[in-house]
């Protein structure tokens, strides 16, 4: 009789001591709201999209049955789609280094407490709050071949401005300039936050050693914000793969399909031509491309960490 009565307080004490750190199924409730939203808004649509990509589904005519890999096979023979893949990858290649390089450059310039820096930080971030419609409307007025701002300025010096809207080779770079101008604020702010985490003592020590500015940059600043550089690159790769509004509103994918991105192709196939299965197959290819590019970036970042 005495043994159970002695054991009971011991068990109670152990339970109290472990209560905070112990894993129970009930703890899952803490993440349940997020998990529910994640499943309903992300995982289920992703699964449905994958299923849809193997179906003949017309938005008006309705469901036409499974078609296996036919949608993917047709995509591989569709020159407009292949062009959009090439355009999207090229756009990522030219815009992401600009976001990382220019974002870092601006952050380095404006990384102090002066009023001037504060003013310019607001200016550079300000354009990010504009909608894509306003941004593209403004830039169309800049790029317009005969009467645009660019041509007017060039005309004052007797020059002809480059024609970003009607020259195949310049269409995507023109859109990249608009995009960088529009949302350079976010990478700049991320770099600023990272720069302000670097202890000042390190810079003081470098100053005592008479280290040059370049030396300080490559030996102290860049290694210290390496993770942020990878973060910005990954974010921008994912964002720029989703290029749509600027291309749709400035060039409508032209001239000669030179600026049509994958998302615009998906939009046209799904909503203009009503071929939902075909559009879903293109979406899966975009998903794989984005996943691959983001994973590659992170892998490169980890390699550097390991080194």
């Amino acid at each position: 009789m005495s043994a159970p009565s002695q054991a009971r307080p011991v068990r109670v004490a152990r339970r109290d001591a472990d209560a905070v750190g112990r894993r129970t199924a009930w703890n899952a409730l803490f993440i349940a709201p997020y998990m529910l939203a994640f499943l309903v808004l992300l995982v289920v649509p992703l699964g449905l999209g994958m299923w849809l990509s193997f179906q003949d589904y017309d938005m008006l005519a309705g469901y036409g049955g499974p078609v296996g890999w036919e949608n993917y096979e047709r995509l591989l023979g569709d020159r407009i789609f292949l062009g959009s893949v090439r355009n999207t990858i090229w756009f990522v290649i030219i815009s992401v280094p600009a976001f990382v390089g220019l974002g870092l450059f601006l952050a380095l310039l404006l990384n102090d407490d002066s009023r001037k820096s504060s003013f310019f930080r607001s200016i550079f971030f300000g354009s990010s709050v504009l909608s894509v419609t306003i941004v593209t409307l403004v830039w169309r007025l800049v790029y317009m071949p005969d009467r645009g701002l660019l041509q007017n300025i060039a005309g004052m010096f007797g020059l002809t401005a480059p024609n970003f809207m009607t020259t195949e080779a310049l269409a995507l770079p023109g859109i990249a300039i608009v995009t960088v101008w529009w949302i350079i604020g976010l990478p700049m702010m991320l770099f600023l936050a990272a720069l302000q985490q670097i202890p000042k003592e390190v810079y003081e020590a470098a100053a005592l050693d008479n280290a040059s500015r370049w030396r300080v940059l490559v030996s102290i600043t860049l290694p210290a914000i390496r993770r942020t550089i990878v973060l910005v690159a990954v974010i921008e790769v994912i964002l720029q793969f989703q290029l749509f509004g600027q291309a749709n509103l400035i060039t409508n994918g032209g001239p000669n399909n030179a600026s049509r991105p994958i998302v615009m192709f998906i939009y046209e196939a799904g909503f203009r031509d009503w071929m939902l299965g075909y559009a879903a197959a293109a979406s899966q290819i975009l998903f794989v491309l984005m996943l691959g590019a983001a994973m590659l970036q992170m892998w490169i970042g980890r390699q550097k960490d390991g080194g």
Binding site: D56, D58, M59, L60, A61, G62, G64, R74, D78, R79, I80, R140, Y143, M144, P145, D146, R147, N163, M165, T166, E168, N248, L249, I250, T251, N252, G253, G254, P255, N256, N257, A258, Y267, E268, F271, R272, D273, W274, M275, Y278
Partner: protein, 447 residues
């Protein structure tokens, strides 16, 4: 006593509040709201509260004031709620709304688009509704009647017939000596004559012959309408022998049509990289001799030419001329449809009443916008309006694709984009034909 009084007062208050709420709800119940999906633009800054449809100008002004006037004057407690969507993505959004079962009560629809929606049984016959509303379908003009009739039944209330015009800066034609003894512009009869005129305009004014928007998604229609017109004037079609499942761009006629744009582009006789606003502003500013756009701009151009500071010196409109074999021009109709799942008995009745109102004001639409009315009984009156005698023949020579052609919006986009590629991207006509063929095959490869 105090508590009793307080309780009584509260109870009385509750009864009064309840009665008020009930009567308010009853009033609200009597109002019938119908949603009204349309394009034609938004112009609340100019016409947001105006009901004076007789003074309104342009499609947007007339449409907005008509709805305001109906909402203010109808005796049936009907409230029309406009849902305004930009023209370019209108059909994409409408289809997405149908798929999401967010169906408007009444929607505007080009009769060229109705076929796809009827085949999907989303648009159903409305002859009974029109009869119930007191609309006489025998008064429909032949082109409008053909546009809304599928399988022998009327599926929509036509609203106008619109077509493709040359809006001409007569002052620039005069400058180049391209007017007759009466001072009227001489319109070319062949492609070579067109090129000679364009050369003269360029030499005498330094400006391009044609101004045409060719950049934005909505601009694809401009190239497509010009292409169709040039095909019709050659008595040709991309669909042959009644086979609407196969488009054929490999014809001499399609080559001719694309080559007109190739020649214009090479010689700098047509504006490049211009959007809708730029084209309109450029033409009014005197930066081109002929604006390629539709009937819907007639009234705007008359107003613009009347301003002393305008670069548009004397204005006239002409149907896109026959440069090949026969008089013919692309023409389409706006119409009003009731989509399946968009009405209940109450809103359907209200929709009939509003359609009757629109029918009664068809002339106001034609006057303010420039489109042709769809009622035979209004044609004589329409012909008295400025510039309208020049476009009256559209009712005779206007042509459209048969309703059997599937995905006509897709065709408009792909043809328009290929024309724009010739203009802006220096694509050769032969390559445009090849690419159009490939894209058309893709478009028709499914049900």
């Amino acid at each position: 006593m105090t508590i009793t009084k307080l309780t009584s007062a509260l109870a009385a208050g509750a009864i009064v509040a309840g009665a008020l709420a009930t009567s308010g709800a009853a009033l609200a119940q009597q109002k019938t709201e119908i949603s009204f999906a349309r394009f034609f633009g938004a112009c609340d800054a100019d016409y947001g509260t105006s009901q004076d449809y007789q003074k309104a100008r342009g499609e947007c002004g007339v449409m907005t004031t008509l709805v305001n006037h109906f909402n203010a004057t109808n005796k049936d407690n009907i409230v029309v709620k406009p849902q305004i969507i930009e023209w370019g993505p209108y059909y994409q959004q409408l289809t997405a709304r149908i798929a999401a079962r967010d169906v408007p009560t009444i929607a505007v629809m080009h009769t060229s688009q109705i076929g796809d929606f009827v085949r999907s049984r989303i648009v159903e016959p409305i002859e009974d509704d029109l009869k119930a509303a007191g609309i006489d379908i025998n008064d429909f003009t032949p082109h409008a009647k053909a546009g809304v009739t599928l399988n022998g039944k009327v599926h929509a209330l036509p609203w106008d017939t619109h077509s493709w015009l040359w809006h001409i800066n007569v002052g620039m034609f005069k400058q180049a000596g391209l007017v007759d003894a009466a001072g009227a512009p001489i319109v070319p009869k062949t492609v070579d004559e067109l090129m000679q005129q364009a050369k003269l305009i360029k030499e005498k004014t330094g400006k391009p012959y044609f101004v045409m928007a060719s950049v934005a998604a909505g601009d694809a229609g401009n190239g497509a309408r010009s292409f169709w017109t040039m095909m019709y004037t050659q008595n040709a079609s991309i669909f042959k022998d009644g086979n609407f499942d196969k488009a054929d761009f490999n014809s001499p006629e399609a080559k001719n049509a694309f080559e007109v744009f190739e020649r214009l582009s090479k010689e700098g006789y047509i504006t490049k990289g211009t959007d809708g606003a730029g084209a309109l502003g450029g033409f009014i500013g005197g930066n081109g001799a002929v604006l390629l756009t539709g009937t819907w701009r007639i009234d705007d151009m008359i107003a613009a030419a009347a301003k002393p500071e305008s670069g548009l010196k004397e204005y006239t409109a002409r149907i896109f001329p026959n440069l090949f074999k026969q008089d013919a021009v692309w023409a389409d109709n706006h119409s009003w449809v009731m989509l399946r799942g968009g009405t209940n008995p109450q809103t359907r009745k209200a929709a009939q009443i509003f359609m009757k109102y629109l029918w009664d004001h068809n002339f106001d639409w034609a006057r303010g916008g420039g489109h042709l009315p769809i009622r035979n009984s209004l044609m004589a009156e329409y012909a008295k309006l400025p510039e309208r005698p020049n476009v009256m023949r559209i009712t005779e020579i206007g042509r459209s694709l048969p309703h059997d052609v599937r995905r006509q919006f897709g065709f408009q986009s792909l043809i328009g984009e290929e024309v724009n590629n010739i203009i802006n991207g220096n694509k050769l006509a032969a390559q445009a034909m090849k690419d159009a063929q490939e894209r058309a095959d893709q478009l028709l490869s499914r049900r």
